[in-house]
């Protein structure tokens, strides 16, 4: 597979997943505001922190009102992480590999993009926000499903899967980080109805509330963190994402899990095994925020290593490593 193509499929999937997560953050916050006691100030700043674009937001808007934050995160094309910008980037990537992905996938990305573009143009984002954000989530799910059943599960598909799983792990860690940081200081609130509502909202934004209830029943902050970080079966949990991502990474090179042939495999394997043996009380004791922050940095390094291993252009003066027919030689 062409290196450029692998890179585009990877980013196509990251951008779709990113758009979905941004929609989740906003939608849940909108729902949450409805449940807060009258007179409570609306909390919109943490949302900007979740996506990690505080500085850009301050420059462009200043005040964290609902309108500003929704505009910034949904349709501001100068914010590269807004839903609209993500869809535009996803579509550009899809266009550049449309002969590799299935026609159905391309049509879904295109339809998804047109839907967001039209919603922005018609001012539907604020007027019918819940409907809009639900549509974004569903369009993303549809894309993932279409990819699953229409594209051969070969190299290109694994790069795509790697893209959306790493993105999802990152976003789950961010939403947890921001909420935990924001909610935990008020120890007195633990167990109050407001607290319950807040933590339910965290779970809901990862579509995790029902699955959490099945596993833990009552809502407790440490168990919420445990579920979103370390659960091996919930598809938006960080641990689950890494286990699956590692499978794809090794399917690409063919090397067995537990060994490594390149930097990407080494870094991802190390990070995954950290979560394999982690325990939530230890993490909380030594600082949840620090742990999540380090996790995000390491995840970034995995992304860099993937790029360096599979995409970076090797200098022309190198002796070419030939691939002919079935006789394939590894690059590293």
């Amino acid at each position: 597979m062409l290196s450029r193509v692998a890179d585009s499929i990877y980013w196509l999937n990251r951008y779709i997943e990113r758009a979905e997560n941004v929609a989740r953050f906003i939608d849940v916050n909108l729902q949450l505001m409805l449940d807060l006691p009258a007179g409570t100030t609306e909390q919109w700043a943490p949302l900007v922190d979740t996506t990690g674009d505080r500085v850009l937001f301050q420059e462009r808007y200043g005040v964290t009102t609902r309108e500003n934050v929704v505009a910034f995160l949904t349709f501001d094309l100068d914010n590269p992480n807004s839903i609209y910008a993500c869809l535009r980037a996803a579509r550009e990537n899809a266009r550049s590999v449309r002969e590799i992905i299935s026609s159905e996938m391309w049509e879904q990305v295109n339809t998804f993009y047109l839907m967001v573009r039209d919603a922005v143009a018609q001012g539907r984002v604020l007027a019918e926000s819940h409907t809009f954000f639900t549509e974004v989530k569903m369009a993303s799910h549809l894309f993932v499903g279409i990819t699953e059943v229409t594209m051969s599960h070969s190299e290109g598909w694994h790069f795509g899967r790697l893209g959306h799983l790493l993105e999802r792990a990152d976003k789950t860690s961010r939403i947890l980080d921001v909420k935990y940081y924001l909610l935990l200081p008020h120890v007195a609130d633990v167990g109050t109805p407001v607290d319950d509502i807040q933590w339910s909202a965290v779970l809901k934004s990862a579509s995790a509330l029902e699955m959490y209830r099945k596993r833990f029943g009552r809502i407790r902050p440490d168990q919420v963190a445990d579920f979103l970080m370390l659960d091996r079966e919930f598809p938006r949990a960080m641990h689950y994402c890494l286990v699956q991502a590692e499978e794809s990474l090794h399917a690409i090179s063919g090397s067995p899990i537990g060994t490594f042939q390149n930097l990407a495999e080494q870094r991802l394997g190390r990070l995954r095994s950290e979560l394999d043996y982690a325990q939530i009380d230890e993490i909380i004791a030594s600082g949840l925020h620090e742990f999540l922050d380090a996790f995000q940095a390491k995840l970034n390094n995995v992304g860099t290593a993937i790029f360096e291993t599979f995409v970076t252009v090797r200098p022309v003066t190198d002796v070419p490593t030939l691939v002919q027919g079935s006789q394939m030689m590894r690059t590293r």
Partner: protein, 491 residues
């Protein structure tokens, strides 16, 4: 004659050919033999049905993302290529003539290009002036002495044909440099098969769907002899090229990689593509990149789109390029004027398909005639394509004509002029009725082991009322082209 048509019920009763040659109707209003079934079917459709089918077709094209890019248009650089669901029908006898004429023309043009870059007999025998070749923008000096694989230069051609008022078919342009549009032929057909399934079946329309396999077969035929299973790629300038959709489509249909210049690298005298598992050798490149941009070491040094060192590998015979670099010399519109002579010189035959009469601006007598008749003529730049750099005298303002007169006098070699043809028309859906619009026809010809003419082609429509410009970049649309099977074709 203009009759009101009841809303939604679309009939041809009010359709007027306005004295033009109509592709669907005789002058007395009867449908032509091959179109009778279709007309009958349309008349039998329930109210509103045809419009609904037109909308369904447009919707399908939009969601398939079948678009093209327009240069110099910031707002909407990507557009849907307008499509009209009424097919243009070409009867078997007409097609037989077209096919024979195109094969003859391509064969002669290939011999011409080969000669021009080698012995130059045609110049030495005084048929084409040396000055004309040497001043042709697309005559590439690095190609002199080159012998492309299997002696073929123009592997893929998209000749533009037009019909005038009395139905005579002419060749308008040869388009030997990576002509685009064939993807629309294939996609339009997919859409139309759904739009008129019964008529399609009953009309015995010749299929076009095997074009990608034939293209791949032709490309593989060009590979160096030592290679048993050649790797073919399509080379695109990238996402922002106006025909990017087509490049991707053809690569996908052939099952080969679509590459950009940055994906290719030259090492040890061969061309390789960069893959996630290392470098892989490439044997045949269907390039959709202009000659100038192919290799910054040989051609334009500022090209970021090409592959440094590619031309050297090509000269050594380690990679094949389609079309061959330098082919554009036969695409020069002044050389076009010589094609009838070229055919006679190499094949000893009269041209089966005539040229549109063409005046050459650098000939003093002809230039005087041109300048005196600018209001009646179409002036074209010798080296432009896509409808850019063109003056349609009768539709132009006095200022535009004066500007062209100045340009012609400053650089007569760069212009030709032709009479404004009363192009044939075909009915299109305009709101809730039919109106005639001017059309041309671009069939596609592949030159591999033998010359193959795809039975079909792109019918381009000038959608603006009265307009003669059919180019997609200038507000043109398209129709599916149905070539009917004759007695000799099993369908």
């Amino acid at each position: 004659m203009l009759l009101r048509v009841r809303s939604g019920l679309m009939q041809f009763t009010a359709y007027d050919t306005d004295g033009f040659f109509d592709e669907m109707f005789e002058t007395d209003g009867r449908p032509r033999a091959g179109s009778a079934l279709l007309v009958q079917r349309i008349h039998g459709l329930p109210q509103g049905e045809l419009l609904q089918r037109q909308r369904a077709a447009e919707q399908a094209l939009l969601h398939m993302g079948i678009t093209f890019n327009v240069y110099g248009d910031e707002a909407g650089t990507e557009r849907i290529f307008p499509f009209d669901v009424i097919p243009r029908i070409v009867e078997a006898a007409d097609w037989a003539l077209i096919e024979r004429g195109l094969k003859q023309r391509i064969q002669a043009l290939n011999l011409f290009i080969d000669d021009v870059y080698q012995a130059q007999h045609i110049i030495n025998d005084g048929i084409v002036p040396a000055f004309l070749i040497n001043s042709a923008k697309c005559f590439l000096r690095p190609c002199v002495g080159l012998r492309p694989p299997r002696g073929i230069w123009c592997h893929i051609t998209g000749t533009d044909l037009v019909r005038d008022r009395n139905g005579q078919i002419y060749v308008l342009e040869d388009n030997l440099r990576c002509p685009s549009g064939v993807s629309y032929v294939l996609e339009n057909r997919q859409v139309l098969k759904r739009t008129f399934p019964q008529v399609f079946e009953a009309s015995r329309v010749r299929p076009v769907d095997d074009y990608p396999s034939r293209l791949l077969e032709m490309l593989q035929y060009l590979a160096p002899d030592s290679v048993t299973s050649p790797t073919v790629v399509v080379l695109t300038p990238g996402l922002y090229n106006s025909a990017y959709f087509e490049h991707a489509f053809l690569a996908q249909q052939m099952g080969v990689e679509l590459v950009e210049g940055r994906d290719l690298v030259v090492a040890d005298g061969f061309v390789f593509m960069r893959t996630t598992k290392g470098l892989q050798r490439v044997d045949v490149i269907y390039r959709r990149l202009d000659d100038d941009f192919l290799d910054p070491l040989t051609f334009r040094s500022d090209s970021l789109l090409g592959v440094p060192g590619l031309f050297e590998v090509y000269q050594a015979g380690h990679v094949a390029l389609a079309n061959a670099p330098g082919t554009g010399v036969a695409d020069d519109k002044v050389i076009y004027a010589y094609v009838p002579k070229i055919i006679r010189y190499y094949l000893g035959e009269d041209s089966i398909l005539p040229n549109v009469p063409t005046y050459i601006c650098w000939d003093d007598t002809e230039r005087r005639h041109i300048l005196a008749n600018l209001d009646k003529l179409v002036v074209k730049a010798a080296n432009e394509s896509g409808g850019y750099g063109m003056l349609i005298g009768p539709h132009a303002s006095a200022a535009e004509r004066a500007m062209f007169a100045e340009r012609i006098q400053a650089a007569p070699r760069n212009y030709i002029a032709q009479p404004t043809l009363a192009l044939s028309r075909a009915p299109v859906i305009v709101e809730e009725h039919f109106e005639g619009r001017h059309v041309d026809l671009r069939p596609y010809i592949l030159y591999g082991q033998e010359i193959y003419v795809l039975p079909g082609g792109l019918t381009r429509v000038a959608l603006r009322k009265g307009s003669l410009v059919v180019n997609s970049s200038q507000g043109g649309g398209s129709k599916d082209t149905w070539v009917l099977a004759g007695e000799s074709h099993a369908c």
